[in-house]
């Protein structure tokens, strides 16, 4: 596997007043890797993810994303990443085609390029019949698949996925992961959070956040060995059970 580092953090910290949301987290993510970013509610995942996307300035520590500094080069970071969350991803009142064109346009792609690529994408997702339909009328699973494709439409180095499969049916959930594997094979790094522990198994490496710290980081196999657990679910339970920061 290629060992180019695309995300590198060193004691990255975010404080809100007295509250330390993320506490000196240090880790590297490699090119083309599927990196699972797990943690209990309120462990600091969202805060960390915002810093990595260049949406929030860290309080201290260092981090580079796709080779760019999170303090000074946030605009360049944004041009080199894709983002998709369960809550917001596409405009429900625009058609499939319009959404693709819009998001392609945001990233400054040429009109002709957008046209040819969106045809390809629509064909790949099997949405030929739905291209003129409003996104709001599509089933959730299709929306999520389309949203992911749009998030990587501009061929970013890294794509951040925030609970992309929440509430999606088991079949579509697997189709979604097929898309993730494809992207990963093309060299796109996947940074993903999820509540489904079986999905943690699909990641190359997994980090577990508890109370603002990264408490464990390794391949699923090694994590299970380390905690002498049968499943990732058990690993997570073992780690998160000790969390103090439950009410936040």
């Amino acid at each position: 596997m290629n060992r180019n580092i695309v995300i590198s953090t060193d004691k990255l910290t975010k404080r809100f007043g007295d509250f330390v949301a993320t506490n000196e987290i240090t880790f590297d993510v490699y090119e083309g890797e599927i990196f699972g970013f797990l943690g209990a509610n309120g462990a600091g995942k969202t805060t960390a993810m915002r810093m990595l996307c260049g949406l929030s300035t860290p309080s201290s520590g260092k981090a580079t994303i796709a080779g760019f500094d999170v303090y000074k080069e946030t605009e360049k970071i944004k041009a080199n990443i894709g983002y998709m969350s369960q809550k917001f991803s596409l405009y429900e009142d625009l058609t499939v085609q319009e959404n693709i064109r819009f998001f392609g346009g945001i990233y400054g792609k040429k009109k002709k390029k957008i046209k040819s690529k969106s045809d390809e994408l629509i064909q790949q997702l099997g949405l030929e019949k739905e291209r003129g339909k409003l996104v709001g009328s599509l089933p959730l699973g299709w929306k999520q698949k389309l949203a992911f494709s749009v998030a990587i439409f501009h061929e970013p180095k890294i794509v951040f996925l925030d609970e992309p499969t929440g509430g999606v049916d088991p079949v579509t959930r697997r189709q979604f992961w097929d898309l993730i594997y494809d992207a990963s094979d093309r060299g796109i790094t996947i940074f993903v959070t999820t509540h489904y522990m079986d999905e943690a198994e699909y990641c190359n490496r997994v980090s577990m956040m508890v109370d603002g710290y990264i408490k464990a980081l390794d391949t699923p196999t090694k994590l299970k060995q380390q905690f002498s657990a049968e499943t990732m679910d058990a690993v997570f339970f073992e780690l998160a059970r000790g969390a103090k920061r439950k009410a936040d």
């Binding site: 209990a40 509430g167 049916d169 594997y181 522990m197 079986d198 198994e201 679910d233």
Partner: protein
């Protein structure tokens, strides 16, 4: 006696354009913990809203605690507890204020039914002066459950109570439901998480507004039509693609650290040996192959397959 009865219930929106629920019938016994399992948009919420008298069904009839959901809506509203999909709390009121408010709305007081919520409430009591909006997902969920229980309902409707909540809180939540069941409360719970199905006494698998199967989790699993095998190798995504190309394979789906497969026709030692040989020829190493019991999720996928 059945506490909740649905008789050919259908519900559409936008003048019939969107079919949310189609001809759904099932019964829930008194004191039963019944799970409605299906993805978002399957029609779970619509069923809950019909049963809680919030929506009128287009067709069919339903009763809760022996009362008709259309005619006796007032009486039903006095007897049921309902926790909607979003934890419906007042974000700007404190934990204690929320609980007191709902207790009063339900014509009771916290003290009167404290024994019922005590186990749950002690966990959030340290934060009783905190505003609900400042609680974590797990804490909100517990408070919402307390509020839904405060009037000692006969039937409890919990619509996706564990969505967006981490595993630890989810486990704790199901423990609470088991204890509530022991108090004789009939509980209807919906969830998109297939692994939670085994925690229910009986389940209905639902997709696109239609029931795929209703039974005990053990029975649902037993009905899985084929032998299921788990397989893994060094390169999982390549393994998935390679296996799917083999014509004697019926299905291959990723399942955590393994892929689950079924064979198309014959299923014997010969074909298994052939599979390993074929995969070896495609440079897969350290192949692990074993029989595995089907899970609810396997069944759900299989049922979806048959449906399409």
């Amino acid at each position: 006696m059945a506490d909740v009865v649905l008789n050919h219930i259908s519900k559409t929106y936008n003048k019939g354009e969107v079919k949310a629920v189609t001809d759904v019938s099932f019964e829930v016994e008194k004191g039963e913990l019944f799970g409605l399992i299906g993805p978002d948009g399957a029609g779970k919420t619509s069923i809950f809203r019909v049963l809680t008298t919030l929506l009128l069904p287009d067709a069919g009839s339903a009763s809760v605690n022996g009362l008709d959901v259309v005619k006796d809506w007032k009486a039903i509203r006095k007897r049921v507890g309902y926790m909607p999909g979003k934890f419906s709390l007042y974000q700007d009121l404190t934990v204690e204020e929320n609980l007191n408010f709902f207790a009063t709305v339900f014509n009771t007081s916290v003290a009167e039914n404290y024994d019922l919520i005590k186990d749950i409430y002690v966990q959030i009591e340290p934060f009783k002066d905190r505003r609900a909006g400042k609680l974590s997902g797990g804490m909100k969920q517990k408070l919402a459950l307390c509020c839904a229980l405060i009037h000692r309902p006969k039937v409890l409707f919990l619509d996706e109570p564990t969505t967006g909540v981490d595993t630890v809180s989810r486990k704790e939540f199901w423990e609470m439901l088991k204890r509530l069941k022991e108090q004789g409360i009939t509980i209807l719970v919906s969830t998109p998480y297939m692994d939670e199905a085994t925690l229910c006494e009986r389940i209905a698998l639902i997709q696109d507004g239609k029931i795929l199967s209703i039974d005990t989790p053990a029975q649902v699993v037993k009905q899985f039509p084929k032998n299921l095998y788990a397989i893994k190798s060094e390169r999982m995504s390549q393994l998935l693609r390679d296996i799917r190309h083999l014509d004697y394979i019926d299905s291959c789906n990723s399942f955590g650290e393994y892929h689950h497969i079924t064979f198309r026709d014959e299923d014997d030692y010969e074909i298994q040996k052939k599979l390993i040989a074929d995969l070896n020829s495609k440079n897969h190493e350290y192949i692990e192959f074993k029989a595995t019991p089907a899970t609810i999720e396997d069944c759900f996928i299989k049922l979806l397959d048959q449906h399409e």
